[in-house]
Symmetry: C3
Subunit: 180 residues, 3 copies
């Protein structure tokens, strides 16, 4: 939304809003490295104690930062990591309202092609390439704490033509529907 | 470009430049959710009334925010959405010059693999995966209005080895050619 | 990390930190256009004179901004560009410490599918699609100069299940391990 109220906010309030945004960008940017290395301490830190990771009906999620962190150390997740796992984050949309924020972002999960012929690209080596295993829409609901912004709830839905991801994405755009 | 003129600008001018940048990041980040859900009201809002969406010679574009918004509600676009459509945005380069701005960004259009075997990734379910239908280079020419930044012209060209996308990308880098 | 020291920094210091971050975002966002068009002048400008581009043991890198820039004009790189080459940048994590900064980012290298059937997506034309040739983790070590932020060292490692990329990603998260 346009920052039409720039005139009525103090310099400090404006700086604070900007710093919030940049801190949140970094929080989201830290997610792929943590997922792809199994950095449980990162998940433990950025999720609220009672934070929730909701992966939809087909994948098991977590309740509480300790459980969500522990997911990264399961044999299944470790096997995925060692098979070659890359979480690739798109440009997030961020809306901050006081001590709450909502981030809406796209995510790809990439893995090496398990078979097939290697292809040579000049100056870029030979590779069998990578496949896109999943494409997901994320809604991250954040809250400000004395220890920085924390994730209260992350909702992830597959962007495969089914409705839940679209419903999630629509929520990010609702504020733009209002008349200015 | 380095902000070497920090000394000569007021705090308010510096804050304004930063807020412009963050508003533009969000405007671009809102594009994939709007395209993938058919949110015509978003397109109507972020394009200028006489804004143009130029998709090159092989795809039909739009003139005026009403027409560009209506593209999202055509049967063709709705069919693409229900087949599984994900616009995935890379990190944009942003150059602001007073009341004008140019954003140069990469975009992928992803769709589910229409056939093939599902592959299981531990802890990440089974999926036939997704294909990259198109990779495009975008140039977004924006203008500041009383109702926030608006798109005057969006130019999209396929990054398939043909020249127009490279010409578009080169324009983003021209300012770096000048001696400092 | 949370900016808990907001109270003890001056407005100018806070603005400077924000401007640094935005300048660095743009520097990283300029990389794909420069790589995909062979813009040697951009590489020459953003790398330090003694900057290093370390591509690991299987691909040759460069020492010094002149050599790194020249890589973009080699027949091999030019052939890759004309075959259709897209560097696609994910959301970077940025940590600034005074006059030094570390950026950790994901990168895909995309090329057109060399064969196969074109698939039609309604309203989005027909295409054989693109393949992901490589997925890499980047660590960019930057330094502040009178001419803006410059790259001292860029380290790129393939995210293919081998350990070096994970080691690189882990380094970005180390600061979050400390107790707050």
């Amino acid at each position: 939304m346009p920052a039409r109220d720039a005139q009525t906010r103090t310099l400090d309030e404006r700086l604070r809003a900007i710093e919030d945004r940049l801190e949140i960008l970094n929080l989201i940017a830290g997610h792929p490295p943590s997922a792809d290395t199994g950095a449980d301490f990162y998940a433990a830190r950025v999720y609220a104690e009672d934070g929730v990771f909701d992966r939809g009906e087909h994948l098991s999620g977590g309740h509480g930062n300790a459980e969500i962190a522990a997911m990264l150390q399961t044999p299944g997740h470790q096997a995925a990591i060692h098979g070659g796992l890359a979480h690739f984050a798109g440009l997030p949309h961020i809306a901050i309202d006081g001590d709450d924020a909502v981030v809406t972002s796209y995510l790809m999960i990439l893995t090496p092609q398990p078979s097939g012929e290697a292809i040579e690209v000049p100056n870029h080596g030979a590779s069998r390439g990578f496949r896109i295993h999943r494409v997901g829409a994320n809604r991250w609901e954040l809250t400000r704490t004395a220890d920085g912004w924390k994730i209260k709830r992350r909702t992830l839905r597959p962007l495969d033509g089914s409705d839940p991801a679209r419903a999630l994405l629509r929520r990010a755009l609702e504020p733009y529907r209002k008349s200015s």
